[in-house]
Symmetry: C2
Subunit: 449 residues, 2 copies
Amino acid sequence: MNTQEKIIIIGAGLSGPLLAILLAKKGYKVEIYESRTDMRTANISAGRSINLALSARGIRALRSAGMDEIVMKEALPMEGRIIHDKTGNTKFMAYSGRAGEHINSISRGGLNIILMNEAEKLGIKIHFNMKCTHADFENNSVVFKNYETGKISTETATAIIGTDGANSAIRQTMFENGRALRFSFSQAYLQHGYKELHIPPGKNGSFLIEKNGLHIWPRGEYMLIALPNFDGSFTVTLFHPFNGENGFDALTTPEKIQAFFEEEFPDVIDIIPNLLHDFQTNPTGSLATIKCYPWQVNGRFCLVGDSSHAVVPFYGQGMNASFEDCRILSEMVDEFKGDWSKIFTKYQSSRKKDADAIGDLAEENFYEMRDHVADPVFAKKRVLETRLEANYPDYYSKYAMVTFKDKLPYSVAKSLGTKQDEFLMDFCRDLTDLDAVDLDGLFRELQEI
Amino acid sequence: MNTQEKIIIIGAGLSGPLLAILLAKKGYKVEIYESRTDMRTANISAGRSINLALSARGIRALRSAGMDEIVMKEALPMEGRIIHDKTGNTKFMAYSGRAGEHINSISRGGLNIILMNEAEKLGIKIHFNMKCTHADFENNSVVFKNYETGKISTETATAIIGTDGANSAIRQTMFENGRALRFSFSQAYLQHGYKELHIPPGKNGSFLIEKNGLHIWPRGEYMLIALPNFDGSFTVTLFHPFNGENGFDALTTPEKIQAFFEEEFPDVIDIIPNLLHDFQTNPTGSLATIKCYPWQVNGRFCLVGDSSHAVVPFYGQGMNASFEDCRILSEMVDEFKGDWSKIFTKYQSSRKKDADAIGDLAEENFYEMRDHVADPVFAKKRVLETRLEANYPDYYSKYAMVTFKDKLPYSVAKSLGTKQDEFLMDFCRDLTDLDAVDLDGLFRELQEI
């Protein structure tokens, strides 16, 4: 490959800098263009962190860039789900029956800064305040507007990669050329939105609730979750219908909000001191799954990460899937020796089914989290799964295949995992004594499906 | 209802004028805005007709506007599929075992003119050369550009209905407000495109091939079809992959086109005199299914027809589904006494599942037409289905439910029809003697599924 080649990456969010690092380490001259200002220098109010769940696929991709150790120092392990019922009782459900298999709560901003710092250390230039307005497929170039000067500029490169997220400008240009590119596209909004709330740290940075887990208050139509932050606080998110009797549209007064939380989530009222204020002033976010195809144009432009497959957050795989994109693309750069047309064509055709699978799994997991985790049959199934995992190194539940296998294609995890789920839910339906189950026999039966 | 209310309909294509007639007959003041010039006065070269298959749902909708008789005078009945094999032999497959159940080939342009003439007779003003550029949901208005003068104008009305087709400007505005409206949207392109060709009339307007059928040359990856026109000609369409060994991209020389047709469709070469010229100069069209939701905004704007659910042409239901939209919406105007917010809300929530169903059915029928009709098991199934229809007034095949039932929801036709199809394909797989089948028993079994 000709390592004098210039590569443009659009978007300095999470996958942009990671991909830039991977390519710069091969010798490419990489430049990143980012529409926002530099979060490291801007006077962004500290405090609230948004956190993400980093798991095996993301860690493997970070490792391929030599970034895993520095990142994991900032991560908090979450060993399982902690389910809160309406009376405030909690129940722990391990994510795996194997030691060491947990997910990791990490600050989105902190991780982004680590990656940008490393990218710059490798000589990668990050152009901030440069908004990509559109791609020009005829001239193989890309157009930017400088938000500070208003100046419009046009750049070209051997490869132009859009890691510019769910509202990607590169994808938008593909959409506008829909007929010529036969660009299939879908955006599917949930009828639920989300609102972020905050549990502050206790005294001396202590945690007010159990720190090593992902807290869930499953209520069928509603769901509250909380993930721990390094400073002892928790980022809390209410997933909630827009419409209906208790929907966002109906919770319009402090009295109604207070009454709703007292009824549904009584154990959080004392630990979310700014509940009423935050509920009324924080924006209500919407949630959508985005799919599209093709991902590449002219063997020169390619979408990577959320720009090509935005997912809802319920499997904790959005970032992990995007990082896995970067690892796979990077491996193809080696395999096809820098022939970008081959790289992008092979990348999109092999990766598309897995992006679809994680998009579907994330939607399905919404129902599992808000609903099934409170179902006694599901609880029995989870116990059996963790016992199987503890006793059979080859056994992985669907959740574990998605979360702890770092190479198994998502599409395989989905099809095999769904079969296992159906089998085990049937198996547990009338099961009364978990301890009487012949685990050996069950394991062999599961191997056959 | 207040019949002094003004209603704006955007698009004078097929469903626009039909809906306008239905509403004008209730006393509403309706105006239609159309981006193209008036096809009745423009010097459009005559000759080629594009034809459509009008069936029960479309006819029922026309009847509700008092337009069925005048339209049916221009229609040619097609009693079944006429399957051409590679040696030029043909086989007739009836669409139904009941007398009178056929589909009707009709000229798209001719039908459009009939509907526009009637609309104007009722006092509906059609503004031509007025391109809707976008809707303004904040001000409940809609913006037009006059293609002759360049003038921009803004109009408002109690109800603004977008019958502006697969590239709807109203839908585009909804898409641009995607997050606020939680506007789910998908466009799915087939990897096949189409090319139109032409079989001219024989002497004295005679038909060069059988006139009362829909001709199909099924070849798996390729498919040629021909529908009769009133003047003795046939509109021929090749549905064909864009890429691959014999794809559109590969058929680049007269020699290759000629060789391809000689191999695959030898019996049409003599009757398509301009084959090579037309193949090389006619555009290659693309095919997409479009779905979206919601269809209405503010209780004032609503999408109807292709603007809300563009389908691929393989079930012959695009126009019929759009006409059925008009009938259902018109009935809701009566039911909800002109309360447009209720009308549009109920319309979209009740109709969406049926629009999805016909979109899916049309995609599935592509595989049936190009492939299964040449399968001997499928042929046996069709024989049994026509016998069942001939003997049991209550029996309808999936095709017949979609095509000859004029009120059964598409979603019901799809779910019940799919079950019947699966049952009958299984039943026919090893069947050797069609005449030995116990029809009574089979009918009873089908009633149970």
